[in-house]
Symmetry: C2
Subunit: 116 residues, 2 copies
Amino acid sequence: MDRSIPLIKHFVALIKMDPFDSSGRFIESLAQKVIGSLDLKVVQKFEHTFKPDGITLGFVLAQSHLVIHTWPESGTIHIDLVACSPIKEKKFKQALISFLDKQNIQLIEVKAVNFF
Amino acid sequence: MDRSIPLIKHFVALIKMDPFDSSGRFIESLAQKVIGSLDLKVVQKFEHTFKPDGITLGFVLAQSHLVIHTWPESGTIHIDLVACSPIKEKKFKQALISFLDKQNIQLIEVKAVNFF
């Protein structure tokens, strides 16, 4: 039993921006920035809009999944990325920072989930 | 800016079982066990079968998301649960243990992702 097989890279980002563009188009662009920067491959997309506010936008990837949740009322974006490919935490965070409006970011924190 | 709003509970489980029933039906039942035990509400389901092996089964929840990936060739099940409700890590782990065949579990480890 080898807990390092398969390789599973798991990064979670919590972003606080108040206000942020909570439109589906903006969140989709943010997701595509991450996907493009990390060379991920989408095999399926799913989306759900909550009332009165908030979006869940997700992608099944050839490498696992990317899911973004937003809570506009508290200026919160939560990004969950699991990939069985050697993606880098730094590159993930850079993709987020380069896409978002730096002036409005109050917090951007990335955590890695490691089992080995 | 309050990083504890919204409440986000995030648990990730890595399970090693070799062999395990890698059928879609089994993984769906495992997911339903988690969903039922933690009183989660499904708003959308998505699924992808990889070749030659492996499933991604996911649910957009009223509370966020649950995604299960399997790698049967290495006896691996990865479960990612994000919920904006006060779910308990212990209850999550218990739901998994009570569903799975104890004799075949080589590893079951749960990690919590906390930003505050």
